[in-house]
Amino acid sequence: MRKTYSSLGAESLNLILIGFGNVGRALARILWEKIDRLRGLGLSINVTGIFKSNGGFVDSNGLMLGEILEKSEQHKSWVPGASPLSHIEELPCDVVVEMTPTNVRNGEPGVSFIRKALEEGKDVVTSNKGPLVVSMKSLLSLAERKGCFLLYEATVGAAIPIFTVAREFLRHDRIICVEGILNGTTNYILSRMSEDKVSFDDALREAQEMGYAEADPTYDVEGIDAACKLVILANGLMNMDKHLSDVEIEGISRVTPEMIELAEEDGYLVKHVAYLDGEKMEVAPRLVPKNSPLAVGGTFNVITLNTELSGPLTFIGKGAGPRETASAILADIITIAKKRGGIKSGEHVA
């Protein structure tokens, strides 16, 4: 039997946030800014714990998010060295939001946090690809055994609601193959190379200056980030049990301006395309027709689901960014509240 938040409406949905980097802070800010909008939905959210690697903000009556964002570790609720592992049991908590940095080698510390939360019977929302790339199947089956939700919309394409669409609208259909551009940084680099004829190195430097690319850009430009997302898509949309090692990966660091020029002469753009079907998973630079739905520019991501009944469905959106990612997390939280009976379904706030 799944639990319900029977007391919701009058009382609150209690959250614990793990990870307080760009995404965690953006989520706290949105929860703070949108408090009235959420109340209008019948959802009163209380954050009882926010944890970083060196401690946490803890208040079982609910943290003052505005103050914490301003004062950070100077805030009176700060407990140095506090660990989420012990507080998940102790604090009032319905949903654990896991937002620690991605680690594709062993998924830690995210895997341990998610596992602990599920074992304690808490619903989990995560934006962290690492735990899913490493052990998605086992985490999902643990969630199922415990009657808990484990939602991860924010892990792929940030605010693009790809898993929600599949879960809510395509249950009757079959997804045959998926293709898309899953990394905003590489798309920005290739778009700059194409539009302004800059070299790969210059475009990368620019992406770093704009804050799109990390100081160590390997993860993005060598296609590992896109491959991780492809693994999550394979497992989440097509019920597979895939890992990073199943993906054929080719990065974009060897794309030359001449390659882009020669492609354009024949009406193509060079794009870093992720592709997945029943047999093959691949991330590689491809020549995409200029009028293709995949020919999106800038930091945009695009995902096309080719389905048996609905035909091709294409989604375009900002594939990264703290607010976009936090928005997807909040959407998952609302989904859980709704499924648990905490929000009247169909309720709309203008």
């Binding site: 080719e250 060897r254 794309v255 030359t256 001449e258 390659m259 020029e261 020669l262 492609a263 002469e265 024949d266 193509y268 060079v270 590689a284 630079p285 491809r286 020549l287 995409v288 027709p289």
Partner: protein, 157 residues
């Protein structure tokens, strides 16, 4: 399909009727007046068919209606892929790379190269054509393998 028609009214319609009856979709009709011999006017009709059997069925029907079929030239719809390689494409024996494509029955239609200097990498584009997408796909797999062996960076349409 080329017909030799008597140059008088109604002959073309007679030739087209069986094509329409058997579901051939006419694309183009050319009267080849400069090749007219006596009263016989050659006419070329281009139409879509499902396959060769379909084509032969239409030819038999045309001939059965008393029209002389002078020749058939099936035009296969071609499948194309644009492939671009970056690396030491020439130093790693481009002839061998292309031979391994050609031996699979795929045509290399166009080859464009951008070369800076002998030390720099070059960028080479070629357009592949084949009469089936399967042949093209299997050729691409070979090409990816060859590119891997020769440390060439490859992207395709």
């Amino acid at each position: 399909m080329r017909f030799n028609l008597a140059d008088e009214p109604g002959q073309l319609l007679k030739a087209l009727q069986p094509i329409a009856e058997f579901g051939g979709n006419v694309r183009e009709i050319s009267h080849l007046r400069e090749e007219k011999r006596g009263n016989m006017l050659p006419v070329a009709v281009t139409f879509d068919v499902k396959d060769l059997d379909h084509l032969f069925k239409i030819r038999d029907a045309v001939e059965a209606s008393g029209i002389q079929v002078a020749g058939i030239e099936p035009l296969m719809e071609l499948h194309r892929k644009v492939v671009i390689m970056v690396g030491h494409v020439f130093a790693t024996n481009i002839k061998d790379t292309i031979d391994r494509v050609l031996e699979r029955g795929v045509k290399v239609r166009r080859l464009v190269a951008r070369i800076k200097s002998a030390e720099d990498v070059s960028t080479v584009k070629f357009v592949l054509e084949a009469d089936s997408s399967e042949t093209l796909e299997s050729t691409l797999r070979v090409l990816k393998k060859v590119a891997g062996e020769k440390n060439l960076f490859i992207a395709w349409s």
